[in-house]
Symmetry: C2
Subunit: 688 residues, 2 copies
Amino acid sequence: MIRRPLRTALAALLLAASPALADEGMWTYDHPPLQQLKQRYGFEPAKEWLDHARLASVRFMDGGSGSFVSPDGLMITNHHVGLGCIQNVSSAENDYVKNGFYAPTRDKEAACPGYEVNVLVGIEDATAKVLGAVRAQMSDKDAREARKAAITKIENDCNAASGLRCNVVTLYQGGEFALYRYKKYTDVRLVFAPEQSIAFFGGDPDNFTFPRHDVDICLVRAYENGQPAKPAAYLPFSTSGVADGELVFVSGNPGSTSRQETVAQLQLQRDVALPLTLELLKRRLAVLREYSARGPEQARRAKAQVFGLENSFKAQEGRLGALQDARAMARKLEEERQLRAKVAADAGLATATGDPWAAIESAEKKGAGRVNESFLVGFGGSRLLGIAGNVVRYVAEVQKPNEQRLEEYIDSNLEPLKNRLYSRAPVFDDLEEATLANQLSWALEKLGPAHPFVTTVLGGKTPAEVAKAAVAGTKLKDPEARRALVEGGSAAVAASSDSMIVLARRIDPLARELRKFREDEVEAPTTRAGEKIAQARFKTYGRTAPPDATFTLRLSYGTVKGFPAEGTTIAPFTTFHGMIDRSLSQGGKEPWALPPRWLEKQGALALATPLNFASTNDIIGGNSGSPVLNAKGEFVGIVFDSNIHGLAWDYFYTDERARCVSVDARGIVEALRSVFAADALVKELLAR
Amino acid sequence: MIRRPLRTALAALLLAASPALADEGMWTYDHPPLQQLKQRYGFEPAKEWLDHARLASVRFMDGGSGSFVSPDGLMITNHHVGLGCIQNVSSAENDYVKNGFYAPTRDKEAACPGYEVNVLVGIEDATAKVLGAVRAQMSDKDAREARKAAITKIENDCNAASGLRCNVVTLYQGGEFALYRYKKYTDVRLVFAPEQSIAFFGGDPDNFTFPRHDVDICLVRAYENGQPAKPAAYLPFSTSGVADGELVFVSGNPGSTSRQETVAQLQLQRDVALPLTLELLKRRLAVLREYSARGPEQARRAKAQVFGLENSFKAQEGRLGALQDARAMARKLEEERQLRAKVAADAGLATATGDPWAAIESAEKKGAGRVNESFLVGFGGSRLLGIAGNVVRYVAEVQKPNEQRLEEYIDSNLEPLKNRLYSRAPVFDDLEEATLANQLSWALEKLGPAHPFVTTVLGGKTPAEVAKAAVAGTKLKDPEARRALVEGGSAAVAASSDSMIVLARRIDPLARELRKFREDEVEAPTTRAGEKIAQARFKTYGRTAPPDATFTLRLSYGTVKGFPAEGTTIAPFTTFHGMIDRSLSQGGKEPWALPPRWLEKQGALALATPLNFASTNDIIGGNSGSPVLNAKGEFVGIVFDSNIHGLAWDYFYTDERARCVSVDARGIVEALRSVFAADALVKELLAR
């Protein structure tokens, strides 16, 4: 799945773009790729086409995309985007995650607490307003403040005048600013979800792969004033479907890309950060497998973590593989060489810019010098230690004014943080001990016995001893104990003799020092230099390519297309026959088991119906749930993943083997009709 | 498919073996891997088990394997092994290749002219007898003659005494000799064949791949004295099938492997021969694609050649990929280093052996110096030129005593040669011109304008002019014109003014000079040195691993197992659901179109039945049609291919991703029953 991932520190810098290749590009709706579409596909979308696609597209605020698919506010997104809601409406008696959910009538639709859905209703250039607030003689710090103040004023004025959600989006790393205005829907109700085992058929093993056989969908409805919303636009479901080679569009909210990092940054990712990440994941997996081997109960407890880590390993390995592609890196190097030459040849530009590439390389290398610490000095390795670290920081941070806090603790982030903090998800002592001991052993090995973190945490004991004592002496397994400490505030936390709290209190100052080092010595100079490169690029090439992704609405185009693998061609479509074949060929075991309803209704299902398809559309995490449109502006599918080669799209676009993976609209309708007998829903989707 | 390929010159040298790894090994039946089976799988086959498997296994003399599957002489092999027979029994009215064949009663079974099937009834060590004929003081040439005479006498004595086919097989490149005695069946009749499009479903694109969905089978019956033969053993069809992870055996006739070539030889393959082969194939493909683009009729004419070349390209690329595997080559190098160290440490051995590695490297490098010529100086690039070359040589060679002829023209090879020579397969002028012009251009480019081949063939004209004139001025498109020349003998050929014959007469002396160079300067010293290495290896390690493949009966073991690919696990089985999914996902187009009978009977077919499976058994070309046995000695499947990673098995065994690919016995029975209504056949296969 391609839900928006958390950004890694080293991937945080987004720069502006050089000319796009092939079907590359997550284009903003105010600068659609009209020329490319005309030249490559002879397609000229009218303004109405673009407005229609934009107004039918929605963004789920906690990370995902979707679209309106009926005039009565019905929206479709991925199951993994709607999962929070499905969990929330479930109860001990009704496990809708496991069994699926269907409201045959409106009164059965179930509210999704906390869901906010946005529709992009306007884009205005705000570059002059934002940059107009900055004076040449200002220091870097004052310039940043002035810019921030201008942005806040634009947003507040807009909000006061319209009541809309107004965001100023920084594009091209500061080369452009745009005011995005959104209509908000906050009354969102669950209409339909299939079983998770069908939405995520093949589970982690089949994640990031194609051929694929997932019904990764979820239908929700927007309400306004207690009535189904009447959206400005919706995408009618195509009944004819989509064909091999057909031009298709994806309209969604890609989270972030790092296509404009400097070669030095990418090389450090490749040679330092990603190998260390893989080492970390491998160590954790080894510990969990050893733990799982102790018995079936242990295996059950560790299962979700093992799958998650395996999936992360696969993703990170895919990204590393992309950066190890010598041809791709040579292209990056050549692009950078050309831009540097252009900057050097322009006296004015060279003076204004300096050598930001050297500045970035120097700052990143400084950071790389403490990279082991950035993986180890903190509250990692144990859920309980993570909770303790959050408790210790929570009580300290909330005492400060909002703008001085660590970002995780600003007011708007506290609600979700507390949800996680007080979660009743079970914690297992022996598992906690094993993973914490592993983390501390790794620290001992990587940092050496004399490192302050090691001496502070171990205090002369072995990692196993420290882990055992910390787990034995804590009450934090009980969410109420966590709540009591948080509500007791800093006095209660300072006075606590809970073993995990004590450990977290010792670690906190070391972790804060490291964080300050990264912010001041690595990120600040890198950001400043990155802005210079972006501006130089923009002056040199202009707006020939779209900006890096910013979790705002983008349009990408491409074609339905298979790809070469294993000595043959993977066809662009799968069918329900393929789903059954995959289940049978894996012996029907998890995660390829078909739910009871699917086994019962197999005879009624038109197995030849297309189920999933692959296309060359440029996407990234955050595009989960994006509609796939045909040239008529109809809904032909819904994006839910990329294949393993698509992991390269973080760094560069390629269409040799990388593919966007979607659920086919025909498969959706067939499943709703023949497996779920959701006739009212099918009627609503197919009405014209 | 893995029908036995023609051996390439550089792959001709087979040496003895070093210790086997994992499930490696194509074991001779007189030295089965009892210890490995016991240690790895706790399986101890009794003598009866081995005799049963051996006596139920058959060899098809023109290159393939099979097995008896009923007490009434019924045999199963691959469709592509029986294809010659299916073609022969077809007529203009009845195209059994296209439509399939089924004889519901014995009287409808159709004779396969020229088919000979062998059952290995005895193996005796003949090493002492063969090597006993050689005296130490003999020259190399006399020793070879003495050995050859001893082998001929053993074979003739055996044949006279038993009436059996008797062959002395050279194992471990002369380290061992064994007398193999075979019972022959020469009355073989066709019983059943499916449509070729189902036997070879997915065609060339899906060849060498898995997942796979082929019913690559053909049933024939052996007759003796006009009655169905009663074989000494047959394999009952398993009704319970085979499971993931189950131990399975393959009993068949692998053609040849090159696992004991020296590192220098493999490096020359990797760096010289295979890249040049790929260049040749790429050029030919480019020409054919350009030709195909001229129109639909041209595309139709070139189609079979394009597919064949694409498939060769895939196979050769797979082999090159195997040799580019740095880890595998490092292992080879280490093995060689160890053996050389052992030889050097043994004074007697070192004196007797000299430095054969250096001798091979020197000879091969000499050969590599003329490698461009070995690809170009000959009758390649045009079917008509190939025919002309054969005519010119035929009339010259048949005048010589048998033992002095080029091997292709010895008496026993003349019949199949004439069949090819007089084939009525259509020849297209424009296609001939295009491919011949390409070959001559390539020669000009690679050999330079002053090379004798280039000056002789072009005579100052351009490649296009020469090709056009040669094609325009020949009558060889007519098979009768070829026959007239052959029957007219050397006088007729010498007097001919046919343009292709004239061209072939000019090329012949140059091609013969090159061939003599390769035989005398490359192959002779390489073979002599190879024998020394083999003997040194045998003295050092003994019989710890089986000899390289020799198109004689071997037993290999392994397990049913999936493999990692595309970020997930390819399951070890496919089903009929998968076949239908593959056909639909490719839009039902060739070579994934289902024949009419399959479309009609789809509803009757139990789609969940296993169809093909993957296993780790060590196989190579020649194993086509080999039975897969379970530990009970039952027939559970039939080998028909390896996946793309199995192409490495020419050079070394690996089970990370390389797999043997078989049709599942359950899929065979289900297809016979539900698609072909071949009830009598099913009854015979399942009778106990």
